[in-house]
């Protein structure tokens, strides 16, 4: 079907729809406006009541992860991950700074793409969320008890970490993968100075298996696999019968390094990479491959001190595909494929043909047969290529133009997003026949069904993550929040329930039932267990200590005063470390700390916690500071002064609250 014809169909459909809306009051399931058909009731969560699901959406270029309630679409929270966040001082405070450390130095910004919950036996377990930074290859682990980033790890020898943060059935591994190939030193290291047009010869792709400690969640790079310099785009671990495998799509089998939009779109077929990670891990653990020198950062929060520390790692095991006999295969795929998704049983693997109108479905059985029969057409850089005819199971024709991703409802249907024709298409996994389609507004990217990547999808809803917003909300200048759309998929036909705007550009989302998360929440930190080295557990212990040019202020905050709230003896040129401990032991009573002219962030300190922020006063004067979080009826009064004297002044350190200095 040509693009024009498709467009015409959509337009005609749109006109027919308008007419229908004028005549009937709410009966069409392909209605572009929700609010009838009881849709309002389905998304209405009365005041004081809670949503059914948490939705975690990557923020794209916000570098964060945003949390929404489903079905209401209400924005619940934003979790800072790879970007500094002056909201609470994430990435500015001494305790959190290290989480942004990389071999390039501190990188205070990221591009989050794929949020993946931890799993047990192929089902969500509500422990952690993993998310990747595409720009500076990193993975992060978010703790679902505190909704905080507990750990980040840099991925060595990699660039364009797009096909990343996918997790295996029991979260044994989280995968990372290069989209952009880079030249690698021999021995490996980050960055080699070679001509760009030596791409085909010198550049390499890299697949990374990051091991997850099942008790602590701590991540470690277990091994890497060097790959031909294709652009690896998306991936998914298998489920059930395919749980030992991970599948990736790739484009640019042309190995282009310039004007990729044309040069990487020449071959009729690109590839799907299938790796038996269990076998590969076994081979790696037998000592195959080479342990090479490199440099990458591993940053982790110590739960006792709530203080993140960095560790520089210098070794990584790299395997060549030729060492992974029987554990790595290419399967020819549709031209320039994008998303790859595994059905709940694990038997089917669907690939969106980004530049076509079909979704290609492989079957695991066919793949295993082809492997057993050695149906290999060629070998690329040590990777056998299985014969396409023998691995393909079916093609979903009329999957819309530009099908990107597939999700499953657990009832035998797949739903694919179609970016170019702006629609969701529902089809039977058994027959490949399309049974329903619904327009989206506009240009849908990822789509998500709660639990759609588990053995047992919760179904019920589908959320379309649209890339273009335009006129769906009140306009806000040239840039707008992304527009997401919630569908009811319990019936034969999809029903649009709700549009809701979200921050950033969510590249994918995952929904967890509220009951997996809501009862485990940290409400405040136990002051008695606070082992921050600069904790002040009671007001009597508050103090100001000078050591050369460094001044440590051990400060307490409680409704509604700081101790000390008057400080003298600070001099121009000092480095003042404010260590503020919130003495409250009550839910939702954070205190803030902000000081006039401080070229750093304001901070929020949760009850029972200590946070440290550094101030370098440049001019003499008296500087007020205050609590930024409206904590009590006397919140305005929660303030104080720091006196800064010239560097040669003789003013001695003096401090206190409610006393003359």
């Amino acid at each position: 079907m040509s693009f024009n014809k498709q467009l015409k169909n959509i337009l005609t459909g749109g006109i027919a729809l308008l007419l229908a809306m004028g005549t009937f009051s709410g009966c069409s399931s392909s209605n572009s406006k929700a609010g009838d058909d009881g849709a309002a009731e389905q998304v209405y969560v009365p005041p004081g009541k809670h949503d059914e699901f948490y939705s975690f959406m990557s923020g794209g270029w916000t570098g964060n992860v945003s949390v929404y309630g489903i079905p209401s679409g209400r924005h619940l929270y934003t979790i800072p991950v790879f970007s500094q966040d002056p909201t609470d001082g994430y990435g500015y405070t001494e305790e959190t700074k290290a989480l942004l450390n990389t071999s390039h130095g501190s990188v205070p910004w990221g591009d989050t793409h794929h949020v993946e919950p931890s799993k047990t036996d192929g089902l969500y377990d509500g422990r952690w969320i993993f998310v990747n930074d595409r720009n500076t290859p990193r993975l992060a682990r978010i703790n679902l008890k505190s909704f905080r980033t507990d750990e980040t790890i840099e991925i060595p020898n990699t660039a364009g970490n797009h096909a990343a943060s996918f997790t295996s059935s029991n979260s044994e591994y989280v995968s990372a993968m290069s989209e952009y190939s880079i030249p690698l030193d021999k021995p490996l290291g980050n960055g080699t100075d070679v001509p760009i047009d030596s791409y085909a010869k010198n550049f390499k792709g890299m697949c990374t298996m990051v091991k997850v400690d099942q008790k602590t969640g701590q991540m470690s790079v277990d091994f890497q696999i060097e790959l031909p310099p294709f652009d690896y785009d998306l991936g998914r671990f298998g489920l059930g019968v395919s749980k030992d495998w991970i599948f990736y799509t790739d484009y640019n089998s042309e190995k282009a390094h310039t004007m990729l939009e044309a040069n990487a779109s020449q071959n009729d077929k690109d590839f799907v990479l299938a790796i038996n990670w269990k076998k590969a891990a076994k081979i790696a653990h037998q000592g195959k491959g080479k342990v090479v020198s490199t440099e990458y950062y591993h940053n982790i929060v110590d739960p006792k001190t709530n203080w993140a520390k960095s560790e520089i790692k210098q070794k990584v095991r790299v395997l060549q595909p030729s060492e992974l006999k029987g554990a790595i295969y290419f399967m020819p795929g549709p031209k320039s494929p994008h998303g790859i998704n595994v059905s709940p049983s694990g038997e089917y693997i669907s690939i969106g043909g980004k530049l076509s109108s079909t979704v290609t479905v492989y079957s695991l059985d066919n793949m295993k047969k082809a492997i057993a029969n050695n149906d290999v057409s060629e070998t690329i850089d040590g990777i056998p290529v299985l014969d396409f005819k023998n691995v393909e199971d079916e093609q979903v024709k009329k999957a819309g133009l530009g099908p990107l991703h597939v999700e499953y409802d657990g009832k035998g249907y797949g739903y694919n997003s179609a970016f170019i024709s702006s629609e969701v298409v529902k089809w039977s996994l058994k027959t490949g026949k399309v049974v329903d389609r619904h327009p989206t507004y506009y240009s849908i990217g990822h789509l998500t069904v709660p639990g759609g990547d588990t053995r047992k999808p919760y179904g019920k809803y589908l959320i379309g993550l649209n890339k273009i917003t335009k006129d769906r909300y009140l306009p806000t200048g040239p840039e707008m929040f992304a527009g997401e759309q919630l569908f009811d998929i319990t019936g034969d036909r999809m029903k649009l329930l709700l549009d809701f705007p979200v921050e950033g550009e969510p590249h994918n989302a995952t929904e967890l039932p509220a009951s997996l998360i809501d009862t485990n929440q940290v409400k405040y930190y136990d002051l008695d267990k606070n082992q921050n080295p600069y904790v002040t557990r009671k007001e009597a212990d508050a103090k100001v200590v000078r050591k050369g040019h460094r001044v440590d202020v051990y400060m307490t905050a409680i409704r509604s005063h700081f101790v000390p709230d008057n400080i003298e003896g600070i001099k121009v040129g000092d480095e003042v470390h404010f260590h503020v401990t919130n003495l409250e032991q009550e839910w939702d009573i954070p205190h803030g700390f902000a000081l006039m002219g401080m070229q750093n962030s304001g901070i929020l300190i949760m009850p029972g916690e200590t946070r440290s922020i550094v101030w370098k006063p440049k001019k003499k004067g008296v500087y007020p500071f205050y609590c930024t979080d409206f904590c009590s009826a006397l919140h305005q009064e929660m303030q104080g002064y720091v006196r800064v004297s010239p560097s040669n002044s003789k003013v001695k350190i003096a401090y206190g609250t409610n006393k003359e200095l």
């Binding site: 409680i558 409250e584 032991q585 009550e586 009826a633 006397l634 009064e637």
Partner: protein, 215 residues
């Protein structure tokens, strides 16, 4: 003493007194009294349990929170360690327990009277003391408090509910306290019964022969 013609307790009453004495020990396992504070911004609940020897938070850190809230109106912080009653109350309770057991073993009505009387005395003294503490706690306010409302005091109720600014305070006996009340009830019941049966025995002695034959 003439009403106690028979000077020993019946077996049944002795058991009852023993049970009542044992019930007193419940107060070492459960709080005597509970004070719950309700305010819109504390949906998770706020309150404290008064034990025989201490005061504990209903939910973790509630006493700290209550003290934090109360300092605005100038109320003194609650520090269980500085309340003397909590130091000697356990001994009084053990004393009552022992006296009850002695009553039960000795089966003497004089002990019974002494037990119930001292029980009643201590209960009344305890409640008066508790009321006085509450009065002092609610009226003896720091003159430098941030919030001063003329004529307003913050005395929590001894029993029942009372609205104190934004907080509704409810004070009720808890498991330990209820057990003590039941123990006292049993004591009173046995005492009254013995008192009555003493009287009846006096009158029966004159004209009970036929009844004895009938039974």
């Amino acid at each position: 003493m003439s009403v106690f013609k028979e000077k020993t307790l019946s077996k049944r009453d002795r058991i009852l007194i023993a049970v009542a004495s044992m019930l007193l020990l419940t107060a070492f396992l459960f709080p005597l009294w509970q004070i719950r504070l309700q305010a819109p911004q504390y949906p998770e609940g706020l309150g404290m349990n008064i034990w025989v020897n201490t005061i504990r938070s209903l939910h973790p850190h509630n006493i700290k929170t209550i003290n934090d809230l109360n300092h605005y109106v100038g109320m003194k912080p609650i520090k269980p360690s500085s309340i003397p009653e909590l130091k000697f109350m356990p001994y009084l309770l053990i004393g009552l327990f022992l006296l009850g057991i002695i009553t039960s073993i000795s089966a003497k009505k004089t002990f019974l009277t002494a037990w119930v009387a001292s029980f009643a005395g201590l209960a009344v003294a305890g409640l008066i003391d508790f009321y006085k503490w509450e009065y002092n706690y609610g009226h003896n306010l720091n003159p430098n408090a941030a919030i001063k409302i003329p004529g307003m005091s913050y005395q929590p109720p001894l029993l029942g509910s009372k609205q104190l600014l934004n907080i509704n305070a409810t004070s009720i006996p808890y498991i330990g306290g209820i057990a003590v009340i039941i123990a006292f009830g049993i004591g009173m019941y046995v005492l009254v019964k013995e008192y009555r049966s003493g009287k009846e025995t006096q009158s029966q002695q004159k004209q009970t022969q036929p009844q004895v034959v009938a039974s």
